[in-house]
């Protein structure tokens, strides 16, 4: 695009357009009530996790430092959320546990998305042989049931936060790969790709300049829907004792609540908050994800009208 005064290069124009699209998208998003609820909820929880040191002293997580506390104290006896079988503050566990749930959920999702996107783009774009091989591998991974694989890997690798992230990431990438590949295939058919080719664009250029921007919204929506699955998986793994035993997490709280007999004691302050916390995080992401999907998928938009 040749301009008269030469101040607006094509690149600037593209960026301006992108910025406008984002602003437009944000205005659209704000109109969605469920989307805003989800966003606010998520920000609150993230805020709580980040502010953990301010909200509860880390020492209250350790049994040795909680010896002076009464065990099984109700919230009225030991605000704000009572204590567990070892006298540790439930509130501290809750607030610090949020960090692990969020951290694992996000980190594992990032791994899954990055891996899945790379495989998806390659599978959609490459020649028949490579694509077929990649898709076969993806399908094989989809078939392996998550929990047994996670259990086995965690048992062999050893329980730690890093390993849990790895396990969840490794088992979650196939669905993203399939989604991305389908999108890439439809994009490949589009004329503008063919025309760029005719103009001499290389594969790498096409992938970064054309395909990636088009696939990105899809990846974003997929991300917000993968995080809840990752968080739920982490909870289950921690509950089964495969998480890091030294760090507080909501799943671990449930595990300890169960094995220490909180259920028969009726110590609801121990097992209710973690579950509610997980529900809140998952619901927030799901609401955000649905709102994003509606904005980014034009087909869904016409359904609303």
């Amino acid at each position: 695009m040749i301009t008269v005064d030469g101040t607006l290069s094509p690149r600037r124009i593209a960026w301006q357009r992108r910025r406008r699209a984002v602003a437009h998208g944000w205005a659209d998003y704000r109109r969605s009530v469920p989307g805003m609820i989800g966003l606010v909820g998520l920000l609150l929880i993230v805020g709580m996790a980040v502010a953990a040191p301010l909200l509860a002293d880390a020492s209250q997580l350790r049994a040795v430092d909680s010896i002076g506390n009464p065990t099984w104290a109700t919230p009225s006896e030991f605000p704000p959320l009572g204590t567990d079988n070892l006298g540790r503050s439930v509130w501290a566990q809750f607030v610090w546990g949020a960090r692990i749930s969020l951290l694992v959920g996000l980190a594992a999702t990032v791994i899954a998305i990055v891996l899945g996107s790379i495989v998806g783009i390659l599978a959609g774009y490459s020649g028949r042989v490579l694509a077929a091989v990649l898709m076969r591998i993806t399908e094989w991974f989809l078939v392996i049931p998550f929990l047994p694989l996670a259990i086995v890997l965690a048992a062999v690798l050893g329980p730690s936060v890093r390993n849990v992230i790895l396990v969840i990431g490794i088992t979650s990438w196939p669905s993203t790969a399939r989604l991305v590949r389908a999108q890439v295939l439809t994009l490949k058919e589009r004329l503008y790709v063919e025309r760029s080719r005719a103009l001499g664009a290389s594969s790498r250029y096409l992938m970064t300049r054309h395909i990636l921007p088009s696939v990105s919204p899809l990846i974003l929506a997929s991300l917000t829907l993968t995080v809840p699955v990752a968080i739920l998986s982490e909870t289950t793994l921690s509950f089964l004792g495969l998480g890091d035993p030294t760090r507080a997490s909501w799943g671990k709280m449930l595990d300890e609540a169960f094995s220490s007999g909180a259920l028969s004691r009726g110590a609801w302050w121990y097992y209710l908050p973690p579950g509610l916390g997980i529900m809140a995080v998952v619901l927030s992401f799901v609401l955000i994800g649905q709102a994003l999907e509606e904005i980014l998928d034009p087909r869904l938009r016409e359904r609303r009208a």
Binding site: E139, W140, V143, I144, P145, F146, L147, P148, L149, I151, V152, L153, A155, V156, L157, G158, P228, L232, T235, T236, F239, L240, G241, L242, G251, L254, A257, F258, L263, S264, G266, W268, Y271, P274, G275, I278, M279, V282, L283, V286, R303
Partner: protein, 322 residues
């Protein structure tokens, strides 16, 4: 549906199974060069003990020899002996399979039926109170960990209200037989089955709703109405048969996964199935048992995926005849 189509799909499934078998082997060996050391970490073993254990686990010899032995044994369904009970692994698995199959079978049936009905009601009356409450309910159940739901049901219905037993499959003190025994087992199965049903019906409801919403935009529904059909008939005779196709495959696929996903729920209710077996095996860790369980779970997923595939091909006339 041609034999060729069926044959190809079966072949594909077998290939995937073969991959899993190989994967199973390497999972325990390649990840860690010395499985014995890592599996028995924290326990002081003498060099002699280590050699013995290696031999016992079939870890002596070259990798290739181990692999060969592994393949041979797997073909004979011989997965070695459980470390904790010293019984053959297959025997352990076989004896514990039925409680899981019963639990998962009943739960899947109930969650499918209720989920589909809820999904249909929500989609057909889109935007109404029915739709919002159904969607809200399904989102809430999707967001909660299934075993946490089990915990809540356990405390309220079993511990506080005493309506149901706290765990196990049957009352150890009674020696009822026949029908009375079955009734007792059903009584014990109620809470875990309720947990799994509620936990999974959300997914069916959401998929059915989404599928029906897509179907509702199709022109053949307008045509059906134009013919003078009543609304309910249009829904049940035209919309639902089309919308339900994806749900059918989902059911079949899920069955394979739920089989292995009931681990946490079985633990909560001490339900003596494969899930609880896995949880206990984890404590060891009981390597041969875990390996056998992993293979069984994977095989069931592959099998049910194949069933889902074939079922869809049969039900959709476009695939069946086209």
């Amino acid at each position: 549906m041609t034999f060729r189509l069926v044959g190809l799909k079966v072949l594909g499934a077998l290939a995937t199974l073969a991959f899993v078998v190989v994967f199973n082997f390497f999972l325990f060996r390649v990840v860690d060069s010395d499985p014995v050391a890592s599996l028995f970490r924290g326990r002081n073993l003498t060099a002699q003990q280590k050699v013995e254990l290696r031999s016992q686990f079939g870890l002596d010899g070259t990798k290739l020899e181990q692999f060969g032995r592994y393949l041979q044994q797997t073909a004979n369904l011989n997965f070695g002996r459980s470390y904790t009970s010293n019984e053959p692994v297959m025997k352990e698995i076989a004896s514990r399979a039925w409680p899981t199959i019963a639990l998962v079978g009943v739960s899947t049936l109930l969650s499918t039926v209720f989920g589909v009905l809820i999904g249909i009601a929500a989609a057909w009356k889109r935007g109404s109170a029915t739709d919002y409450s159904a969607t809200g309910l399904t989102m809430a159940t999707y967001a909660m960990p299934d075993f946490w739901l089990g915990m809540l049901l356990l405390t309220t219905l079993a511990v506080s209200l005493g309506l149901f037993p706290v765990g196990g499959i049957s009352d150890p003190s009674s020696d009822a037989t026949g029908f009375a025994k079955l009734l007792d087992q059903a009584h014990h199965m109620f809470l875990p089955a309720l947990t799994l049903t509620i936990a999974y019906l959300g997914e069916y409801a959401l998929v059915m709703r989404s599928s029906l919403l897509d179907t509702m935009r199709e022109d053949y529904l307008t045509l059906a109405r134009a013919k003078g059909l009543r609304d309910v008939v249009v829904r049940n005779r035209h919309a639902v048969p089309n919308a339900i196709l994806p749900v059918v495959t989902l059911i079949a696929i899920n069955f394979g996964f739920v089989l292995s996903g009931a681990i946490a729920v079985e633990t909560i209710f001490s339900w003596p199935g494969l899930g609880l077996l896995t949880y206990d095996a984890l404590r060891g860790p009981d390597l041969p048992l875990l390996q056998g369980l992993f293979l069984v779970f994977s095989a069931s997923v592959i099998f049910f995926n194949l069933v889902a595939d074939l079922l869809y091909a049969y039900l959709d006339p476009r695939v069946r005849t086209g």
